[in-house]
């Protein structure tokens, strides 16, 4: 703050104080300067909040305790591992010099410089002895400082601590057409004069190591239970990045302090004598009894005096002292719900991000640091939502999810909604619920199980209308809103399925009618300007019915069919430098199908039920259906060459025996007539293993022959081939038949056959090309394989022929 401003404020406050003393009442102007931020509190209200923030009641009687949990002092149990001993010494000797702005008072005012040093030394030894582990300076690993800087300036740290540096690459605030709203500009300039919340972090580099700070940032409520520093939902890696960034090039002394027993004992005695236990609970120490009532205290002496040598000294600004005095002069009375809400939003700095009614909101200087992954959503996409009427907006259960469970629906917003701890904000949902009452239109939601047919008809009508309105043939809400996790085509607005469990119907109804009334700059259009439906055909263009239909449809959740414009998407699986093996049913491989994608962009399908290579294709791998009830069935990503899916290896009784075919089920006879096929012709699948480049080798059995079957890509990019190597392990010499091809087969040479778009090269062996039918022309190519006892190998080449 500029010294001049301070002086002027001081004078004004002095005048205010005098007049307050004269008339016995504090001025009731909101936005008292004793607290930062655009808050709504008057001087006395701000003063009472300061009294609980400074924890006056830890020592004094006569302080009313309200709903809002007081700020508590940090838990000192692990302080020796958390804080640099050197810093601790300096801080204890003079808290506000080591950490300007700290709320810990200086309790050694009357001591000489040397004595302060001795006391601080003993206390340091005592405190460090409380910890099982010691303070280590070394950073645990390479820290991503750039990520730390970026997180610090995006997740919301800036809202309370201010930007750490003027970022050249600060996110650009979208341009506004300011000429349009003069009125708003006046408010804006009034707001600009308010100082932003800016809790200093200047001391942090000297206080923490990167590791201890990151542990604190990961779970701040473990050390500071009262939630003034909230949990920003950071992961350990994010915490470390921010910690590393805040600490910068640290030059802390690396030597750990070994507590010395005499000093520990003296420190413990001092801890007791100085009544540290009034605020810091430590085992084996107890707070002193409360002293005189604050209500009757002489405020020109004691803690609120800047000159008292006997009292703890809080380095308070004049405005703060005046506010506290003003509050103490007031008759104590219970806070109204409104005041409890306002105090809560002020003390937890909710107002640094959120507007409620006419107070709060992101400070101009912080505004550029509120970013979004979807800038097309405008301010709605980056500035946390207003809290005006939030008690009428959110369902009570959802509000608790947001406040206490970290629930969040605005995935596009860079700033995170912090977690303040359940005990600290427990009072807030019911306070909001009592305060925020909204005259919403009652929605007449139809019942599908009504006794009346007319009502059941209405239900059907509304279900269909709601679906149509949301879809691309209606209002096309799904163009800008995700739907049950499926991304919208345009903006990535809040998932529509969250509406019903999240929002109250009255608020939803009013909001749809006029979103701009709730959010002046929203990008959400209204489909019912001035209450008149833009879409005239659905439900006869009746505004009430249309909104009711949408609400009813959303209430059905996943029970209702998706709106038009939402498509079940097939998930593309791709192959990198490792082969991919994927099981699932497929038209090209049966129910026990397996797709194999090779790094060379050649893929094939294997029917594991019959032990058959059943399709080959080039290019991308597969699309998998995981939408709806889809249980992962796959389809080749390009047009495959398909082969028969009957069993491949069989021992035939004689050369004229028909090949055993897959049983056929029809619509009329759907039960499998040969359910043991092909196990009843000796086939058993045994699995697969992945080898080099994750290429699978299939294992199966045909009679007594153990087979291993592996295919790799060979050939040039222009002339790719699938080289299939089949290894047999037979307990004896025996003959087995292999069916290589079916269909319209032509023989190119001794060992080369062609069928459709496939050329097959077979090993040297006896073949039989059997005719299956004349019209259409169908053959099957059978290979008689004479297997020796033990292991043997045969090789096949499958070559797709370019069209």
């Amino acid at each position: 703050m500029m010294p001049g401003t301070r002086l002027v404020r001081g004078v004004i406050s002095f005048v205010a104080l005098i007049s307050a003393l004269l008339i016995g009442k504090a001025p009731a102007e909101p936005g008292d300067p004793s607290l930062p931020g655009h808050h709504p509190l008057t001087q006395t209200q701000a003063g009472s909040l300061l009294i609980s923030e400074m924890r006056c009641a830890a020592c004094h009687s006569g302080v009313e305790r309200g709903f809002i949990p007081e700020k508590t002092a940090p838990d000192l149990a692990g302080v020796g591992a958390r804080i640099s001993p050197e810093y601790l010494r300096r801080y204890l000797a003079s808290p506000s010099s080591a950490h300007p702005g700290t709320t810990m008072p200086d309790v050694l005012v009357q001591q000489s410089e040397a004595e302060r040093g001795r006391i601080a030394e003993a206390l340091t030894h005592f405190l460090i002895a409380q910890s099982k582990t010691v303070f280590l300076v070394e950073a645990p690993e390479q820290i991503d400082l750039q990520q730390g800087k970026s997180l610090y300036h995006s997740v919301g740290c800036v809202a309370c601590h201010g930007p750490k540096e003027a970022l050249a690459d600060a996110p650009q605030k979208p341009n506004r057409n300011d000429e349009d709203d003069d009125e708003e500009d006046k408010k804006l300039s009034a707001k600009k004069s308010v100082k932003p919340v800016a809790v200093s972090l200047g001391h942090v580099a000297a206080k923490y190591s990167a590791k201890s700070l990151s542990e604190f940032l990961f779970q701040p409520l473990r050390v500071r239970t009262s939630g003034r520093m909230p949990d920003m939902k950071l992961t350990p890696a994010e915490s470390l990045a921010i910690a590393g960034y805040l600490i910068g090039e640290q030059t802390l002394a690396g030597n750990a302090l070994v507590p010395e027993a005499p000093l520990v004992a003296k420190g413990k005695q001092l801890f007791q004598e100085l009544n540290c236990a009034a605020c810091h609970a430590l085992p084996g120490t107890a707070a002193a009894p409360l002293i005189g009532s604050l209500r009757t205290a002489n405020t020109t002496r004691g803690c609120l005096s800047k000159t008292s040598s006997r009292s703890p000294r809080f380095h308070l600004e004049d405005a703060q002292i005046q506010a506290m005095i003003a509050s103490l002069r007031e008759e104590p009375s219970a806070d109204s719900d409104k005041l409890v809400a306002e105090k809560t939003l002020t003390v937890f700095h909710c107002i640094a991000c959120h507007i409620r009614d006419d107070f709060g909101g992101v400070h101009e200087t912080h505004n550029p640091f509120f970013g979004s992954s979807d800038l097309k959503l405008g301010d709605d996409g980056r500035i946390p939502p207003p809290l005006t009427l939030v008690g009428a907006k959110l369902q009570p259960a959802w509000m608790k999810k947001v406040l206490f469970d970290g629930e969040s629906v605005r995935h596009y917003m860079a700033t995170r909604m912090p977690q303040y701890g359940t005990t600290n904000l427990q009072h807030l949902p019911s306070v909001f619920a009592r305060l925020d009452v909204m005259e919403g239109k009652e929605m007449k939601i139809p019942s599908p199980e009504s006794r009346f047919e007319s009502e059941r008809e209405r239900e059907k009508l509304f279900r269909a209308a709601g679906r149509e309105l949301l879809g691309d043939k209606g209002l096309n809400c799904v163009a800008c809103h995700n739907f049950n996790g499926k991304a919208a085509q345009g903006n990535q607005g809040i998932d529509l399925l969250t509406s019903y469990p999240r929002l109250q119907p009255g608020w939803f109804n009013s909001y749809l009618r006029n979103p701009g009334a709730f959010r002046p700059r929203t990008v959400m259009p209204t489909a019912w300007p001035n209450g008149v439906a833009a879409h005239k055909t659905i439900l006869d263009g009746n505004t009430d019915s249309q909104i009711e239909a949408i609400w009813y449809y959303l209430s059905l959740g996943t029970s209702a069919a998706d709106p038009s414009g939402i498509h079940g998407v097939s998930t593309k699986l791709t192959v990198d430098d490792q082969a991919k093996t994927y099981r699932g049913r497929s038209r090209v491989a049966g129910f026990r199908g397996i797709a194999v994608g090779l790094p060379e962009k050649l893929s094939y399908a294997f029917n594991a039920e019959t032990g058959t290579l059943s399709a080959i294709w080039q290019g991308e791998f597969i699309g998998v259906n995981w939408s709806g009830q889809g249980s992962g069935d796959f389809n080749p990503a390009s047009e495959p060459i398909t082969l028969a899916q009957d069993v491949s290896f069989v021992t035939l009784a004689d050369t004229n025996s028909p090949w055993p075919l897959l049983p056929v089920m029809t619509k009329e006879a759907r039960t499998n007539p040969n359910p043991l096929y092909p196990k009843n012709v000796g086939y058993q699948f045994r699995g697969y293993y992945l080898g080099e480049s994750s290429i699978p080798t299939f294992m199966y059995r045909s009679g007594t022959i153990e087979i291993e079957d592996r295919s790799v890509a060979t050939g040039s990019a222009e002339q790719q081939q699938l080289k299939r190597v089949v290894q047999f392990d037979s307990p004896m010499q025996q003959t087995v038949w292999f069916r290589g091809l079916t269909g319209d087969i032509s023989q190119e040479s001794d060992r080369v056959f062609q069928s459709g778009r496939l050329r097959l090269t077979i090993p040297q062996t006896e073949t039989k090309l059997r005719s299956l039918s004349e019209e259409p022309k169908r053959f099957e190519l059978l290979l008689r394989l004479q297997l020796p006892q033990g292991k043997s190998t045969l090789e096949f080449l499958y070559e797709p022929i370019k069209k």
Partner: protein, 501 residues
């Protein structure tokens, strides 16, 4: 005398608003509305979201706890992830993808340094032979069943004491048995030898060992099943749906084909005619207690999960809720009770597992069928806050009524009054139609109540107790000694048998 009059007055005051809320609740239940207990439940059993890695879809279908305390999750996308750190106070666990490319995992067992994975197509041994942390061997243990329709899901159990694993085979399109052994439970011995074990399944949702080590499977509402239920499985037992009779000819080990059940009968009488028919052990009244219940886990956390040790916990897909169940054997027949536990989960629950830290990990998806939870998939952890809710702990049967135990001592006056125990009963028809009504509803009079001296249990004597009925206990007016209301007022006990003493 005076005291009694005043307590009656007090009761009356209590009962009027309760009667009104009961009406409200009943009306809401018709469309599957909520229990309305979510906001109170959170104080005792908060739900903690387990953050998933970005762009990773984990539609949990099966869990297994590894010896190193990691948790393996098998997914509908056919992947197995190993999760480390799920028990941390603020969980930010690491996810290691161990295996991919499998087909809808609904069973996961860790055995001999490998997973036994139940996929739709087969039971597979999945292992990492080269020690690089990623599975590279997928060996078929058993594929002794037909698979010809996507709805033919297979659920695998954990191992029994002899190392056997059991696989339930749902019907084709959930109605027919077009493919081999559909509607059977298969027993897979440690050497992979697979035999048919039981028949009569419809659309199972899970299978496992209950708190007594007895095999139970989860059945869904549909033909021959008016509500979802837990069913006790024994060698050759028949579980109500006759479609699987088709396959007895391939399974001589199952013995003769059971008599064809007659539709529009009662299971309590039909079980005498159809000798293999096992009555449903725990019926979950449709909609009030789920619409499609799924795989269960037994709480053996030694108190870490609060007062419900040795009880079955299971979820519901449609309603995104969790329930409890307890079982007991009477005259050689299994039966028991189910209880509401927690609502407000974020997605349809497909499976649950207790973590080494004593928390209940729940997962699933909401796609394809109606689900209340609005997240397409999620992993959530339900944990005990350390505060004990006032709950019905367990209901067991007595020769002339029930014994109800509580988690906290019950107020002497209210707990000793017969008026505080509102008990009603219904049965279901046993029929081929899809689902079915609650019929023969009646309110057996409560003859006497004796509250134990410690207030932790009450014996409720009824005018009459009937076999084949589900008894609903509504204890809304009970108060604990510290004046708590019951967190959940209901329990539902299925009476198959009545003990003689």
């Amino acid at each position: 005398m005076n005291r009694s009059r005043s307590s009656h007055l007090r009761l009356l005051c209590l009962l009027i608003p309760i009667a009104m809320t009961t009406l409200g609740a009943l009306r809401a239940e018709e469309v599957g509305e909520r229990w309305g207990t979510e906001e109170r439940e959170r104080e005792f059993y908060p739900i903690v979201n387990v953050p998933l890695p970005k762009d990773t879809v984990i539609e949990a279908g099966a869990f297994a706890v590894l010896p190193d305390r990691r948790i393996a999750v098998g997914t509908r996308h056919g992947e197995i992830y190993l999760i480390d750190g799920v028990d941390a106070p603020k969980p930010t666990p690491s996810f290691h993808r161990f295996a991919t490319g499998l087909d809808e995992i609904f069973g996961l067992v860790w055995k001999d340094r490998a997973f036994c994975v139940t996929q739709s197509c087969e039971l597979t041994r999945v292992s990492d032979s080269n020690g690089d942390g990623v599975a590279d061997r997928f060996e078929t243990i058993s594929d002794a069943w037909g698979y010809a329709n996507y709805h033919e899901y297979a659920f695998g159990s954990k191992l029994d004491a002899d190392g056997n694993q059991f696989v339930t085979l749902g019907l084709s399109e959930s109605y027919y048995a077009h493919a081999l052994n559909r509607g059977f439970i298969m027993k897979v011995a440690p050497d992979g030898k697979t035999t048919a074990f039981a028949s009569g399944l419809r659309s199972p949702g899970g299978i496992g060992l209950d708190e007594h080590g007895t095999l139970f499977y989860v059945e869904s509402q549909g033909p021959w099943n008016c509500s979802c239920s837990l069913k006790a499985v024994s060698q050759n037992s028949f579980h109500g749906h006759p479609a699987s009779f088709e396959w007895y000819k391939y399974a001589p080990e199952l013995g003769p084909v059971p008599e064809l059940p007659k539709s529009e009968t009662r299971i309590a009488t039909e079980k005498y005619r159809v000798k293999q028919l096992v009555p449903y052990a725990v019926i979950f009244p449709y909609i009030r207690m789920g619409r499609s219940i799924t795989a269960f886990s037994v709480n053996r956390t030694q108190g870490k999960f609060g007062p419900f040790e040795n009880q079955i916990f299971l979820g519901d897909y449609t309603q995104s809720i969790l329930m409890r169940a307890t079982t007991e054997q009477v005259n050689g027949v299994w039966q028991g009770a189910c209880y509401p536990f927690r609502e407000g989960l974020s997605t349809g629950i497909l499976n649950v597992e207790f973590t080494p830290g004593g928390k209940l990990l729940c997962g699933g998806t909401n796609r394809g069928w109606p689900v209340r939870g609005i997240k397409p998939f999620a992993l959530e952890r339900v944990e005990w806050s350390g505060k004990t809710p006032f709950e019905i702990n367990r209901v067991t049967i007595e020769p002339d009524g029930f014994k109800v135990t509580f988690t906290k001592p019950v107020d002497q006056a209210v707990g000793s009054s017969t008026d505080s125990y509102v008990i009603s009963a219904f049965t279901h028809p046993y029929h081929a139609g899809y689902g079915g009504p609650e019929i023969e509803q009646h309110q057996p009079g409560v003859k006497a109540v004796s509250l134990a001296e410690d207030g932790l249990s009450a014996k409720v004597v009824l005018e009459k107790l009937n076999q084949g009925f589900v008894y609903e206990l509504d204890l809304a007016s009970l108060r604990s000694r510290d004046k708590d209301e019951l967190l959940h007022r209901n329990a539902f006990y299925t009476v198959n048998e009545i003990p003689s003493r």
